[in-house]
Amino acid sequence: MSDGFEIQYPGSALGNAAPAPVTPRNVANRGGEQNASAAALRQQFGDAIARVEVVWGVTNVYVRPERVLDVVRWLHDDSSQRYDYLSDVTAVEYRDLEAPIEVVWHLRSLPFRRELRLKAQLPKNEPLEIASVWSIYKGADWLERECFDMFGIRFVGHPDLRRILMWEQYREGFPLRKDFPLRGRFSRAEQLRQALAANPEARYSMEELSIADAFEDLPTDMRKRLKGGERTGE
């Protein structure tokens, strides 16, 4: 088995003298030791870093939305940071309707065993758009799609920003937004009507059909229906 991959150990950049990680105890609500990357970010990006705080032991770094891609790229590439692992991309909408929507990235640096929470605030009166980090982390693909599906945040630069958990023709909006009622926006009668009106034969979206150029081979009536825009994944 000599031709296998070389094993990568987390904490490799810390050296052998570094203490082994231990379970955190008595974590304080506010305050505590800041992640060293926060100070480095301030020095590197200055004004782009709006605010730094430590909540329950994890450092929150608020980044101006337009600089997110630069900041993440630097965190990923710089040899003193090496945030190579993207745990999560999600968003938070507060019950206060005036408060901006926050996009949250949970980053990990495996070589340094650090974790960092990046946040960008998107005001609600502007289009909800933010740069995609897909070009840096391939793992962001589905996470960003889910965030778009649930909150309607457009990740600019994402190669394939489609709905993922809801179906393509879903018209009720973005389920995790606070203005979306728990029971759904449409009445049960309307939901039932739409479900019955759906055409179960149109199993493929245009995107899938185009990859195989199979469109021409379809039965005439199905082609007609698809051309009529019945199921094109609009």
Partner: protein, 437 residues
């Protein structure tokens, strides 16, 4: 592909399979005296399809997709050119539901997302709620939670093992695995009364302490169980068919695996020794003596080896935890979250008001947010809770490991044969309840 050069010694030679695990051509026709008649090999000329591709749909209702996963595959002959996964058929909106529930009411939702690892999810969710409240749970609770986590890790890996065996064509290990899994569910049932959806934790403690004699039953399990692992190991690890159908498939290099955000056995099989229990420990996992198995080839076979070894290591952890289990309360002494004693609640005014307030209004954590990661059988499972000071979270988010692992399936299956898609898909260990939530 470098890894395909690797050879695994095949001890068990099965009829119809040569040493490399390739099926031998066995003549199906015999002469009258029973001797085989030589069958002429079919001409090896393949028709020129001139790049004509075929579109194949697998699922959502298909036993080998482990739930309601739908894969649309574009095939060139039998080779997968492109794969488009479709998910969402089991979307229940747990995250939305969580925003309308108190912290203890969220816990039953976690049973139902990754239903193979229900106890582990309860622990993870309670852990993030406790971080929000700033609660340090008692020592006894910690050790019992570790036992719960490791038991459900074994149960989850056993289901993975059994179903993967069926996908690849072996039925016997499935029965052995499910027999042991049944024993684990008996243990859970005698602890909290439920089997699949135990909701074993409460914020600040546990639903119940273990009953009398439970540790003896647990000990019986930890002594009996390794024999089953060894049996399955003997059956599969050097089996020609198993090796032939798993080796060199779905390879992810360490850098790719990290970049795609893989975690758990998927990541470790690719040679990255990242385990949340070791690198960002919780519940004193750093004081337990256990090893993190790491593969070096990143293929389906290594994922199988990693999971087999993880089951053995989990048994080690359970044995150590059983030895150190201290006496004492299981619930933290914190009136913000823990209900008063029942007899007090029915006899004292203050306790009754306290009980009423906790049940009707629910505990209120301070402003803040907590992302707590734990090592679930599938990988890094994170629970992210944001509180605005009310009794219900503003946002409750599950970081689903198999969702992120499944996102890499197009990369893993492209270039492989259609039949290998099933093996690769099985190796991800997906649970659609967790992916769709």
């Amino acid at each position: 592909m470098a890894t395909q050069k690797r050879t695994v010694e095949v001890a068990l030679s099965t009829t119809g399979v040569d040493a490399q695990g390739r099926p031998q051509r066995v003549p199906l026709v015999t002469a009258d005296d029973g001797s085989p008649i030589a069958v002429e090999a079919p001409p090896m000329v393949e028709p020129d399809l001139a790049g004509e591709h075929m579109l194949i749909n697998i699922g959502p209702q298909h036993p080998a997709t482990h739930g309601v996963l739908r894969l649309v595959l574009e095939l060139d002959g039998e080779t997968v050119v492109r794969c488009i996964p479709h998910i969402g058929y089991l979307h229940c909106g747990f995250e939305k539901l969580g925003e309308y529930r108190q912290y203890n009411q969220i816990l039953p939702l976690t049973d139902r997302e990754d239903y193979l690892n229900a106890m582990g999810n309860n622990v993870g969710c309670a852990m993030s709620a406790e971080r929000l409240f700033g609660i340090e749970i008692t020592e006894r609770c910690k050790v019992l939670r570790v036992i719960a986590c490791e038991l459900s890790r074994i149960a989850s890996h056993l289901v993975w093992l059994g179903t993967t065996c069926i996908d690849i064509g072996a039925f016997t290990p499935f029965l052995w695995a499910f027999q042991q899994r049944e024993y684990i569910y008996d243990l859970i049932e005698s602890w909290v009364g439920a089997r699949l959806t135990p909701t074993i934790t409460r914020v600040g403690g546990l639903a119940a302490d273990i009953p009398d004699g439970w540790m003896t039953k647990l000990q019986k399990f930890t002594t009996d169980f390794p024999a089953t692992v060894e049996e399955i190991d003997k059956m599969l690890t050097k089996n020609g068919i198993w090796v032939g159908r798993t080796i060199g498939l779905g390879v992810m290099t360490p850098d790719e695996a990290i970049n795609w955000g893989l975690s758990g056995p998927m990541l470790r099989a690719s040679g990255v020794a990242y385990d949340v229990r070791k690198d960002f420990p919780y519940y004193d996992y750093e004081t337990y003596d256990f090893d993190v198995p790491v593969g070096t080839n990143g293929d389906v076979y290594d994922r199988y080896l990693v999971r087999m070894e993880e089951m053995r290591q989990s048994v080690r952890i359970i044995e150590q935890a059983a030895k150190r289990l201290p006496d004492g309360p299981i619930n933290v002494d914190d009136p913000r979250v823990i209900l008063p004693n029942k007899s007090k609640a029915t006899s004292e005014m203050e306790s009754m008001i306290h009980h009423f307030k906790l049940v009707m209004e629910g505990p209120r954590p301070p402003l803040g947010e907590a992302y707590v990661a734990m090592e679930s059988p599938k990988g890094e499972k994170g629970y992210y809770m944001v509180s605005d000071g009310t009794s219900k979270p503003v946002r409750w988010r599950i970081r689903p490991p198999s969702f992120v692992n499944l996102a890499a399936i197009p990369k893993m299956v492209e270039g492989h044969l259609l039949s290998d898609v099933i093996a690769i898909n099985a190796s991800i260990d997906i649970v659609m309840g967790e992916i769709d939530r």
